[in-house]
Amino acid sequence: MIFNILLGISVSICLIGLLLRCSAWFSQGIRPQTQQFSFPERLSAALQGVFSVLFSARLLDVVKSFFLDLLLQQRILVKSWQRWIAHALIFSGFLLLFFLHALDSVVTENLFSGYYSTLNPYLFLRNFFGIMVLAGVAIAVYRRLSLKPQRLRTYASDWAALIFVAAIILSGFLLEGTKISSQSTFMRMVEEYGDVSDEQEQKALEAYWIQKNGLVIAHDKAAITDELISQGEEVSSRSCVECHAGNSSAFASFAVAKIAGPIAAAVGDAGVVNALWYLHILLCLSFLAWLPFSKMFHILAAPVSLIINRVMGTENGSPANVLTRQMIGLSACTHCGSCSLECSSNMFFESFQNEFILPSEKVQFLRNIAAGKGLDAKTLKTLQQGLYVCTSCDRCTAICPSGINLKELFISSRYNLLDRGIPETTLLSHFSFPLALAQSYASDHLKALKNVEQLFKKSFKTLSDMVLPLSLSTPRDFGNASFKSCYSCQRCTNICPVVRSYDNPGEALGLLPHQIMFSLGIGNVELAMGSKMIWSCSTCYLCQEHCPNQVELCDIFYGLKNAAINKIEAGGKQ
């Protein structure tokens, strides 16, 4: 009765959770533009997509995906056999236990006639599957600990998932172990199934079960003779063996019985068995209820994401489906950290100390963006930088074991955040190059660039802003002192391909290369930092190579660019 109530509660929570998570697939999303789709529009676009696949040759891809991606988990296998073994052990062990043990009255009994949970191979297999799961969890824990220096981030929720799974299995072993040793369980079963005629036979049976099957009863050890045991064996073969294999087949629980049995007997074995039964059931049922609200939801979302990935690759479907795919992807993330381990930008994370540079960390936060949750300005700024400091190498997308189209997700998110108007100085880096190449958000990109330009205009004075005559001061120490050798021959300016690209370069660029050296020479670093020239430099190094006095112009420009960004970023904090 209590079990049924608990089961009802847990299943209802699970179903409500699944409904909520799945409805988020069709209602949330990260869109850079204002294009809106209603829930029914999203749902029907998705169904259309599904049908067009089911009734085309692409159905083959789905079948292929089922075997290769879902069953074989090929995407994990090609990256790391260690991870694959860990996942395969947990995945197959847990699923087999779920179907063959938890649902035995529905599945196993109908599949195998003559099924008794106490018979072999079932008795043995349950333990075997449990040990598989535990071994998988152990490898996963080891992986998380050993890869910490490689920037693998582990949250409390990641540990929680591992602990939860391990706890279910361990409580199962404890329960079975104490049942093996329990006198009351033994007595109950003898009463129910036993063919015991007198007290002597009862004694013999007990002796045999103590000796062979891990039963723990406070007996006089001297009284257990070989003769008694062989008599017990006879009774056992008559009463028990038909439906109960030897307990040593349940090897893990049998070992537990040896250790925990005496303790349980001392405390009161009937109570202990009962308590452990509740513990095991409560753990299983709360796991079921917790599943949709945790990363364990990937059990459902990852297969969907993987099939979509196999069918579509990184190609985008209709705009409504792109959003739906984003959301399925976000919910399929297990925070396994594979993407961050191989992220090409991982060293920028070390330099900027911005967690959001790691793809796995971005994803966790993008869920909030997708759900439309408000974020404070500081977090937004950090997330925006994290999204921008990306080399567009697409490794994360290729690696993701859940097949999430991270590339699309990150680009959409990047422009979604930039659209909010916070200037992003890293736009001025070469991270912008692949974006310019792809041309996917050209106008959004230009708009974001304008925001940065405005910030520069506010932060720096240009030559034309200055009313007073320029004053002379001692050249400031500025990392690279080679500008001091400049004798204004203007070779740099004359050879510069950028200068020659403008009809009126002075106006377009603010300062010309030789003027920048001059401005550093008179100690006006600010003026040099504010000139448009440094951001228009094509970094071709012709000026530097041709300078007769070895002034390192291009390197100085880099220094000025760094300093200008530093100044602006520091200004933002003040």
Binding site: F433, Q439, Y541, E545
Partner: protein, 308 residues
């Protein structure tokens, strides 16, 4: 000979054919390339923002190669420059080396400077040598006119890249010569493709690119041969984007050096990924194939000259 193959971020996902053709060509000369998945970005993209953040990734890459006991072979000019820059900076700055090594120690890496950085052209020119290349040729493409664009960051600043004469580069020219193709003398050969400005100032970036395209076309080039991966993307992708904005523009097709050399070494065009260059049409491949002839036999000429 075996090298750690440093491809950078662009090549594996946008110009795979550059890696494939280089691998195929070097294989002919017994040079093996090991792909190392742990390599990260060279640091180049962040240079405008933070010089130190620019140096660090290259040091880690060299430390990874050092652990593997290999020297690094690079295709991309900008990656090459970043690795060389980091090497140069650490040679002079032992404090920074110490600081970076403390960070790298966490993942069991350490940088001592043992790893050498080699551009694939240097390997072809110095380790293999033009004579050895000529011996393996089965074809030559005498009538092919190429506009080579050397790329800025492999030549300059010369103190850092230590690659070739930065005013009169020889390595690439001599290598092209082995194939029989004519490397045209054209305006823009040593200049900027505009890649460094893409995404920051697209107008200016495209202007610089257009200048190179028309320059090469005026010089009569059949193909443009970019050495740097950024140049390649400018010519092979941005050029097409530009043409889409201005229909009717003549496209200057891109042919990479290892693709040309590969053809002359008898490697299949498919394996060299020539059709994966997006500016290459079927007619271009037919054109190249029709121009392939037996290798030029210089010896005979010399004998004749001597006789005369």
């Amino acid at each position: 000979m075996k090298y750690a193959f440093f491809q950078g971020c662009n090549i594996p996902v946008r110009i795979e054919q550059y890696a494939d053709s280089t691998e195929a060509v070097l294989q002919v000369f017994g040079i093996e390339l090991e792909r190392i998945p742990e390599f990260n970005c060279c640091g180049y993209p962040v240079r405008n923002v933070d010089e130190k953040a620019y140096i660090l990734p290259s040091v880690r890459n060299m430390a990874i190669a050092e652990k593997a006991g290999l020297d690094i072979l690079v295709i991309c000019n900008c990656c090459f420059a970043s690795l060389m820059k980091a090497k140069n900076v650490l040679e002079k700055d032992s404090d920074l080396q110490k600081e970076i090594n403390t960070l790298l120690a966490k993942e069991g890496l350490s940088y001592t400077g043992k790893t050498e950085i080699r551009h694939y052209l240097t390997v072809l020119h110095q380790e293999v040598g033009t004579e050895a290349i000529k011996k393996k040729l089965v074809n030559s493409c005498k009538e092919l006119k190429l506009s080579v664009i050397h790329g800025c960051h492999v030549l300059r600043p010369r103190e850092i890249t230590r690659f070739d004469d930065s005013f009169v580069p020889q390595i690439t020219e001599e290598l092209v010569k082995t194939t029989g193709a004519k490397s045209l003398d054209w305006r823009g050969k040593m200049e900027c493709c505009g890649a460094a400005l893409a995404g920051l100032n697209d107008d200016l970036s495209r202007k610089l690119l257009a200048e190179k395209i028309t320059g090469a076309q005026k010089a009569g080039a059949d193909f443009i041969t970019p050495i740097c991966s950024y140049c390649h993307l400018q010519f092979d992708t941005t050029q097409k984007n530009m043409a889409a904005d201005q229909p009717g523009t003549a496209i200057l097709p891109v042919l990479l050096f290892p693709q040309i050399l590969g053809l002359c070494l008898g490697i299949d065009a498919q394996r060299l990924g020539i059709d994966r260059n997006s500016t290459i049409e079927r007619s271009h491949i037919e054109q190249i194939n029709s121009q392939l002839g037996p290798p030029v036999e210089e010896k005979k000429k010399r004998v004749r000259q001597q006789a005369a």
